[in-house]
Amino acid sequence: MAPPEGADAPAAPKADPKPSDPPSESIVASRTNKQPPAETLESLWVRRWVILSFWAVVACLGLPMWWKTTAIYRADLPLQDMTDWADGKICRPVFPLRIAVEASPQVQDAHRLIRTTQHALDDLNEFSAHHLRLILADLPLPANASQQAIIDGTSSTGDDQDIALSVRLIPVETGETPRSHLQPYAPTLDVYYSPNQIPSASSTASPLATFVAHELHKIFADEQARLSYLLSASSSGHATKWKALSAETAAELQRQSTRVLKYAPTYHLTFSLFTPTSVPSAWDIEPALRQYLTPLLESFATISNFTIDTQVQLYATFSPSIRQPEYDEDLKAWTLRKEDLSGFINAAEWPLSPSIGEGPTVNFALYVPEQSQSPLLVKENGASSWLVPQWGGVAILNPTSSAAIPKALAKEALVPAMQTFSNQLISLLGLPQTPASLPLRLSTLTRVRAASLIFSASSTLGALAQVYQKMPSIPVPDSVAKSVDLTLGHLQQACDHFRDGRFQGALEHARIAEAQAEKAFFERSMVGQVYFPDEHKVAVYLPLLGPVAVPLVMAALKEIKSGIATLRRR
């Protein structure tokens, strides 16, 4: 593609055999001993003009074009802010939890009780960022309000958004006092006491205050452990400031965090029925899901959304890599080995797609073994279900009776499987096991997720800042700068919400911040250039431009030389 004819032609005003010509042609000319006659001035100037015209194209059009098209556009990024966020200099996450104390009107000295309890609580607390603050509820609710199951938890309704937990002090005459009861479906702790346990005006401590403080501390101990684990894991600089976790707790949290799915605003749940034969070929999955799973998913609505689809797969065989089930005389059941469980899902043949649409997919597989191989259990512990970390769960549905497997599984038959799946989903989403109250656990999860999103977005920003500084050759489009600005803004808002104790708002902003940070970091046009060192440019330019440039440069040099020689001769 080099321009041999174009470039040679001007350089050879007399005649123009190709360089590749056989030498015999030129020998003929050289044998004639005559000196070639001098070039006419006209042809000399024509040649010079032609060479100049090629150079003019290169210089006037080529160079500006090269300059313009290979210039690397780098949008300005607020590098200092980004690094500061990554180092945790800007936002020090604090978790001020408000706890409303509802005292019945008889308690005259509620304020003092609260003050005393607060003192006791502060003494117990070792984790300064996580701070429980007691306030007196303005309007004590009627006592029987607790009977209403409040499913949507703490945070969605407007007024009590900031209240993490309500403590209701209820005077009783009978029974052991003080005693407490945490309501499972409401963020309410009922504390029963006998009237004489109200601290007197003079005393600085009272059994009731100490009891309440201890109860509260116990309830939030798990959350504190999680948050401090999160803080220590995410930024080494802070680890020393907060209380050291015991080794076992840390190991347990580590174990849990490996199985938890990465946070996403939307998860896709896939429920699949696998059977090695032709039955069952239908299942009442829709009503079962509606009854057993939808309430759970609804309670998660403030954190993540879910989409669901289901499928039935007949004649699903085991993958050949695992051993076939063996009959165990002691258990009177067919058994699978524990080490084979990871290969139980036949990834090659079972149609479990890794991801459908937006958000990660969580797979739940229900396996109905054939009649001759049931019941099918795990050999080591006799279990019939297991969880696959960060992927989903598997349950084996063994028929309850010896009757033939029904063609369609009724809703009732699916109940154990649904319960298993619910538990697996809870583990996969990282919902803590304690305390007993679901709304409290959900709000704990909100805080943990929001904090971890902030950390992750911050560290992504830090990584982006490093990439920006260390790789001056990558282009940075304006969209990255825009995303970074958005991330910084939302991080700041999330942090402000945290400080004010509005954790739901914090989660929402942190979610946007995280999404924008990822978008900025994985910008397509940037990523491509990361792996493109400068030396490769030689390989890009030379093969084409080299052959074109050689005749151009040689012709120009020759002309300049002869021009200088002519000048000297004069």
Binding site: P3, A9, P13, D16, S53, T69, G528
Partner: protein
Amino acid sequence: MPANQQTALLYGGAAAVRLLLFTAFPSLPNLLAGRVEVSTPVTSFKRLQEGLFLYTHNVSPYDGGVYHQAPLLLPLFSLLPNPSSHPFATNVVFTLVDLLSAYVLSQIAESGQSTVTRLFKSSRKDLRWSSLAVAAGFLFNPFTITTCIARSTSALTNLFILAAIAKACQGASLTFLLSLSFASYLTMHPLLLFPPLLILLYDALAQRSKSAPSPLAFTAFHILGLAVVIGALLSASAALTGSWDFLAATYGVRLLLPDLTPNVGLWWYFFTEMFDAFREFFLGVFWLHVASYMPGLTIRLRKQPLFVAATLTGIFAIFTPYPSIADAALYLSLVPLFRHLFPLMRYTFLALATILYATFLGPAFYHLWIYAGSGNANFFYAITLVWSLGLSIIVGDSLYAALRDELDVERPELRGKEVKRI
């Protein structure tokens, strides 16, 4: 046989061949219109039909990103009956375009500018083919016939390029400007033919009137005229489509090569392999490469502007982004004008063999790649390289012959002797 009768026979025969092919093989036009060697994204008749459909349904023809041809083609073709149901009218139009092209080509041959110009008289000027033979070479060139049957719109561009050359030879300023403007308007790169053709026009005028007009005023007037006509065409297009979006969809596509459908050129393969970051730079390099031949050739062969224009069409057939065999057909039908150079050409056998080799193996390799699946893109690219090699041999060899011819005039004593470059 008298000349008139010969002419009638030639044109009648050419028209008959085309109409016969159209009617005897009704599926042939569609088959050829789908061949990458014949129809490129910027000349395909199928895409023109898509544009027409959108246009007649009052949708912008450039919506959907299929149609990349000039907007003024649309009202022209919308006058014809629907080609999918009544193809005859369209077929006749394309046949007429070919006949007209042959006619203007014979006018070029008659002007004699290929051998004798104002400043140059070839020593072999008597060695030439008649205008009828040149026209026959165009009309019965299989590449031309294939282009016509495929109803590729490059046939129109070729007509306007040939008309511009013919009018420049005859010294007809106004029609020259109009033809070249239309050619440039349709496919953009004929604009590069303007300088050599302007010189040709100037020489023709000077020869005729015996008193040369002032070169500066002449150049300025014609540049202005060209700008006015092209400006008018573009404004009419904008008025027709209601916006200036057509610029990006037509010339933008030619400049930036978003559609990497294979063709017989060199660009598509190169740009499928190109790193994204360097794409724009190499687009610039390739375009500058095409353009850089024009000034050098025009200056060097100032005395033979018609030869420069013909050589440039050959360079276009090799180095433009969307070449097809139609561009090669144009060049190959201009080459016979320079019959007097043939004795000086050294690689005619090699060039013809290469062209034939590529012509027969090209479709086979494309079939192996796309349909049989036993080859890959390299197969087809290799054969397009051979095709381009064949064309560049002709371009380079004829250039050598032209220079040698000039030398023979300058130094008659060297005639017939071997020369070497010093």
